[in-house]
């Protein structure tokens, strides 16, 4: 097949005919801003890794899996104290959808999908925080979204991906409280969303078809206030700004 996507639009059409599977991996770096109803503000950078596999082909069913792991320190303050925590994000998601793709006009594609996913969010407080408790937030969700792509040049594509997460069941486990044993807090499950704007460059190396993608994104995760026993869950909002660098192998 050779380096068919180097210069001509015709070769880009060839690309959509030839490859249906792609596997990707790469680092993900993002700034997280966490705010809590009581006035606590924290921020910090998380460094992680994303890996996944997509079966995406013109007018065919789409399916994919995706995993993320990221970790970093958040620092900030409550109304009275300085706080520091080690934050870990872990996510596993499976998607199923259908791809609509134009053969001619810049090979534009649109893939709506849904699926299932699970999220692990750990926020482990450390000194000098007033309480060195660990919050372990867990929730399952249904993703609803779409992937889209358009070739601006035969080997360059732009896209926009949008994903909503409909939370099915979420709860936060609180551990390491010196005065209380492990307890569970419930919160109001709100929609979360993530917007990505991928820019991808396709090339070939030896006999392999590869691509490099730079994916800036914004993500918003709100968890609503809920009275709990013995302690309430206070409304918490996470705002994430970051980017993923994806290395794709097409086959």
């Amino acid at each position: 097949m050779g380096c068919f996507f180097l210069s001509s639009p015709l070769l880009a059409k060839q690309w959509i005919k030839t490859y249906a599977l792609e596997t990707y991996a790469g680092p993900e770096i993002y700034e997280m801003r966490r705010s809590k109803e009581g006035g606590t503000r924290q921020s910090g950078t998380l460094y992680g890794f994303r890996i996944g596999y997509d079966h995406i082909h013109r007018y065919k069913f789409y399916w994919g899996i995706d995993a993320l792991w990221a970790k970093g320190f958040l620092e900030g303050k409550t109304e009275e104290h300085r706080v520091k925590s080690l934050f870990t994000d872990m996510n596993l998601e499976a998607r199923l959808g259908y791809t609509f793709q134009s053969k001619g006009w810049r090979c534009a594609s649109f893939t709506p999908y849904t699926g299932g996913g699970y999220f692990w969010e750990n926020n482990d407080y450390q000194n000098p925080s007033p309480l060195t408790v660990h919050f372990k937030n867990r929730f399952s969700y249904i993703p609803l979204g779409f992937l889209s792509q358009i070739f601006i040049y035969p080997n360059w594509s732009l896209g926009m991906n949008l994903k909503l997460r409909y939370l099915l069941e979420g709860q936060q486990h609180v551990t390491h409280d010196p005065e209380h044993s492990r307890l569970i807090q419930h919160y109001e499950e709100h929609f979360q969303y993530r917007i990505e704007l991928p820019i991808t460059y396709f090339f070939c190396w030896k006999k392999y078809a590869l691509a490099l993608g730079l994916i800036p994104f914004y993500e918003y995760r709100p968890y609503g206030h809920r009275a709990n026993f013995p302690f309430d869950f206070l409304e918490t909002k996470l705002k994430l700004y970051g980017t993923t660098l994806k290395c794709l192998y097409l086959f």
Binding site: K36, E37, G38, G39, T40, T78, H81, V83, Y125, S129, P130, L131, V133, F135, L164, Y166, L168, E169, G170, V174, Q185, H186, E188, E189, H190, F191, Y193, Y220, P222, G224, H225, R226, A227, N228, F229, P230, F231, D232, F233, L234, K237
Partner: protein, 227 residues
């Protein structure tokens, strides 16, 4: 005290109307009429509408067969007076605890799944005096948090739970079977009689329940994890 929303078909219609109003609300957001709100608030509003629609569909989908039997399922007004003198027994206490904890802390899907058992529990405590029902809740810390949690939940849970309480308060007030017990009730739940009496006398039922939630103190500081 029955869970009227699980019985009344008009409640299902209300959910559809709520969803419709949600769409109107979202279109208002899109027109930018609430310019002071942040982008997240706007999007949050739209998300809420989608959530209302999904939940509405889920609830209606699950309850459609009931609509054809609307008459027998529609709640009949409690025939006899509810007696304040009759204390809540262990079994009824368990039912109240089950209803409050389920509606307060379970996920929406789990609540949907528990529909029939909630209905049965609601039916079993329907004859309790509303003050006895509220007393059971406000004398137990976990249930105090529970009723506050229900107030924060989505509309179709909170409105219908509180509608049940308000209806029985109204019924007993009409039978002159409420105000004379106010002092004793206030003493039991540790609230100032003078704070709640005017609300009851004025028929401000919703404000009365909200006052109980806001004014009756919780034993522990609920904001311990404010970080």
């Amino acid at each position: 005290m029955s869970l009227s929303f699980l019985k009344k078909p008009e409640k299902q219609i209300k959910i559809v109307l709520d969803s419709f109003l949600g769409i109107l609300y979202s279109s208002r957001i899109l027109r930018g009429l609430q310019a002071s709100k942040t982008f997240e608030d706007h999007l949050g509003g739209i998300m809420k509408c989608i959530q209302h629609l999904l939940l509405g569909c889920l609830l209606i989908g699950g309850s459609l067969p009931s609509l054809s039997h609307a008459a027998p399922l529609t709640r009949i007004k409690q025939e006899s007076k509810r007696s304040y003198e009759t204390p809540v027994n262990k079994k009824q206490e368990e039912d109240i605890r089950y209803i409050v904890k389920t509606l307060a802390f379970d996920s929406l899907l789990r609540i949907g799944k528990s529909e029939s058992s909630l209905k049965r529990a609601g039916h079993r405590i329907d004859h309790l005096h509303p003050f006895r029902f509220l007393m059971t809740i406000f004398k137990e810390e976990e249930l105090k948090a529970g009723i506050a949690a229900i107030r924060d939940r989505v509309r179709w849970i909170k409105d219908n739970f509180f509608d049940g309480i308000i209806r029985s308060l109204k019924e007993e007030a009409e039978r002159k079977n409420l105000l004379q017990f106010t002092s004793n009730f206030a003493k039991e739940v540790e609230i100032d009689d003078m704070v709640i009496r005017p609300l009851l006398a004025g028929g401000k039922w919703r404000e009365f329940v909200n006052t109980l939630i806001d004014k009756i103190p919780r034993e522990t500081d609920p904001n311990r994890y404010n970080m």
